[in-house]
């Protein structure tokens, strides 16, 4: 069961959002419920503190006489790093980069167009539900929280992980991105699951993303053509792992 919390100070708007969500839950038979619907940010924070499990938050950006939705979202995010946060706003402040980064939100919903608003809310619920309940091997997400940022990594997207030469820094290679965070391979290895294989003292590879293995170069060629080193010690084990997976 996923809890949903709503913070909106316009009574009419809140009611409208409530109805959309309730109808959608019944229609799609989703395992969710509206746990809180309020106009005070303090209630939301209290709720976040009391409920440890991942929840969905719909927050109005412009809360009159209050700390404001953005700040609220930020505080919720620190309490629950994996929270699904969706902002409801009247104008498109969303094009701003700064805004986007202050709170890593799942989506922004514009109030201007009621019909659009409905479908957007429904899409968000569907996606959150999928992410929450289908955390199978295919779209599992691991959350890495380091001193200065939170990264949500989709396990399925990872090609391989590599430690940097200095310090305990890990670089995640994905199809179209490279990200870095502070951890050791050992810490992360246990979270990754069966598709991953430690193929070198500083590399962990996603076996499903290997295109071919080049013995001469001592590396695996990944789906995007990138090379991941394999040390000889782990070579046979990797081949075995590959055969098991296909």
């Amino acid at each position: 069961m996923i809890n949903i919390a709503i913070c909106e100070d316009n009574f009419k708007q809140r009611d409208y959002i409530n109805t959309i969500i309730e109808n959608y839950i019944i229609r799609e038979n989703l395992n969710m419920k509206i746990a809180l619907s309020t106009d005070k940010s303090a209630d939301i924070l209290e709720f976040a503190k009391d409920h440890e499990e991942r929840a969905i938050y719909f927050l109005d950006i412009h809360l009159v006489n209050d700390i404001g939705g953005v700040e609220l979202g930020r505080q919720v995010r620190t309490i629950d790093p994996s929270a699904f946060i969706i902002f409801v706003t009247t104008y498109s402040e969303v094009s701003s980069l700064v805004f986007e980064y202050r709170v890593a939100a799942m989506d922004y919903i514009l109030k201007d167009d009621k019909a659009k608003m409905k479908t957007r809310i429904e899409d968000c619920l569907k996606e959150a539900s999928d992410l929450y309940f289908n955390e199978s091997r295919f779209n599992r997400i691991i959350t890495v929280k380091t001193s200065h940022k939170i990264l949500n990594l989709r396990v399925e997207d990872i090609l391989f992980l590599e430690t940097s030469e200095k310090a305990h820094k890990i670089r995640v290679h994905e199809m179209n991105s490279q990200k870095e965070f502070y951890a050791t391979l050992k810490e992360i290895e246990s979270q990754l699951g069966n598709d991953f294989y430690r193929c070198h003292k500083s590399f962990i590879v996603n076996v499903r993303k290997i295109k071919e293995i080049n013995k001469t170069l001592g590396c695996a060629i990944m789906a995007n053509g990138e090379q991941c080193y394999i040390s000889n010690k782990y070579f046979k084990g990797l081949v075995k792992c590959l055969q098991k997976n296909t």
Binding site: H148, N176, N232
Partner: protein, 461 residues
């Protein structure tokens, strides 16, 4: 020479080349990517060994050693020449072959030592010529295999655990040269005096020689690591020099930009006085229609003025002169090329916990790349943001990128460039600067929805 002796020589050659084939297959390094080449190589090798087995015919009791001397050297030379011609380079493969040869030779010395010291048999070949050879060779076979397994394991560890590409290439090009020296040493020293007087002292000498060789290899290997380190130092020196050049360039550009805006301001002041006097004139003469017309003209003029002054205004929150100069210059550059450029810096930035020269170097490269890439798109756009989030600073550089943007790992490679020479190392330099700060700074890069985006996170701690 009797047919029996020919048979004997052929036997030696066959066993020896057989050993080499076995050993080559033991190593996990692919020498040949194609089976035909492999067969040709084996045939030629067999020919060479047979020919060299007939060299240096000698009926002394230790002639087997002389044979092996020729075999080792001739097959080694052959392999080097053959592989150099076919592979067009002198690489790890030659080193592997040397090890194969070396292991064979090593097994010979070891076996001889066992015979003399442990079994006290000094003259096995003198008494039992034919049988002795057969027994000797049969024992030598597993022994040599053992040596080569040991050595292949060593190489594999040594070579494949090394991550850096430069180190790999240095090791793989230098080791064959060491091996060549080694084999020549074997050829020059061991057999000759060994042949003249055979006694325990000489065996000991041979062992001492082998130990010296091992020390020699270690020393040479160590010195290569030293070279690698030096190379890195040189590289960072070069980076430092470039840094200062860039810095100077940025400051000069900023000065120019400032000068421009000052003269722009002066011009504005001048125009302003003019405008006021014109308005005054129209008012005095009560020519309101003309005044109205003039006013609308002015608002056009205002637009132009605003555009020029806006660039500076957006950077008002940056309190670090170097950064301000860099950004203003790059923004001017970008807008000159008709790139839609946005800058968001919501709060004052007074101090960033990293070397400012390093930071401006990184940002200079990121912004240059962004400009370079986005002009090729239909709707060129660059968005820059700089903000504090919790305990860190975040700098985002985002630009629209062409569809044929190469994959991220490619553009981080040293020497990669879509442009001319020298500038190519850009992102590689960014990466190495980021790396030098360890865990305090991270760089995330992604391509998504037609945007190329770098996020530089700088931790305050």
């Amino acid at each position: 020479m009797s047919p029996k002796e020919y048979l004997e020589l052929f036997l030696i050659a066959a066993v020896y080349s057989g050993l080499i084939f076995l050993n080559i297959n033991l190593f996990n390094i692919g020498i040949f990517n194609n089976n035909n080449k492999k067969i040709i190589f084996y045939c030629l090798l067999l020919l060479v060994t047979v020919l060299s087995a007939f060299l240096g015919l000698d009926h002394s009791s230790d002639y087997l050693l002389i044979k092996q001397k020729y075999l080792v050297v001739s097959t080694f030379l052959f392999s080097v020449v053959y592989l150099s011609i076919t592979n067009k380079k002198f690489d790890l493969n030659t080193y592997v072959l040397m090890l194969v040869n070396g292991s064979y030779f090593l097994s010979f010395i070891a076996l001889k030592a066992i015979l003399i010291f442990i079994l006290q048999i000094n003259d096995i070949f003198g008494n039992l010529m034919n049988l002795g050879i057969v027994i000797f060779m049969i024992t030598q076979l597993p022994l040599s295999l053992l040596f080569s397994i040991f050595m292949s394991e060593f190489i594999n560890r040594f070579y494949f655990e090394v991550k850096s590409k430069t180190k790999r290439s240095i090791i793989s090009t230098m080791l064959p040269i060491i091996s060549f020296i080694l084999v020549s040493l074997i050829f020059l020293f061991i057999p000759n005096y060994y042949y003249e007087i055979r006694n325990k002292v000489n065996i000991l000498l041979s062992f001492a020689f082998l130990i010296i060789l091992v020390i020699f290899i270690c020393l040479v290997t160590l010195s290569y690591f030293y070279i690698i380190k030096n190379e890195k130092d040189l590289e960072s020196l070069e980076i430092d020099r470039d840094k200062f050049e860039d810095e100077l360039e940025n400051i000069t550009n900023y000065m120019n930009a400032l000068e421009n805006s000052t003269s722009e301001l002066r011009k504005f002041k001048h125009d302003y006085t003019n405008i006021l006097s014109v308005i005054g004139l129209y008012l005095e003469e009560k020519e309101y229609d003309k005044l109205k017309e003039y006013f609308y003209e002015l608002s056009d003029y205002n637009k132009v003025m605003n555009l020029n002054l806006k660039g500076m205004d957006r950077l008002k929150h940056i309190k670090i002169l170097q950064l301000k100069s860099l950004f203003s210059y790059k923004i001017i550059q970008s807008e000159e090329r008709e790139i839609k450029t946005s800058v968001e810096i919501p709060q004052d930035i007074e101090h960033i916990p990293m070397n400012i020269i390093d930071l401006s170097r990184i940002l200079g490269i990121l912004l240059d790349n962004a400009i370079e890439a986005t002009v090729k798109t239909e709707n060129p756009e660059i968005n820059i943001a700089m903000m504090e989030i919790d305990d860190s600073f975040l700098i985002v550089v985002q630009n629209t990128c062409p569809k044929d943007t190469p994959p991220i790992y490619e553009i981080f490679k040293k020497g990669f460039s879509t442009k001319g020479r020298r500038r190519g190392d850009g992102l590689w330099i960014v990466k190495s600067i980021v790396e030098s700060y360890g865990e305090r700074i991270t760089l995330d890069t992604q391509i998504k929805d037609g945007y190329f985006k770098h996020e530089l996170w700088i931790s305050k701690q």
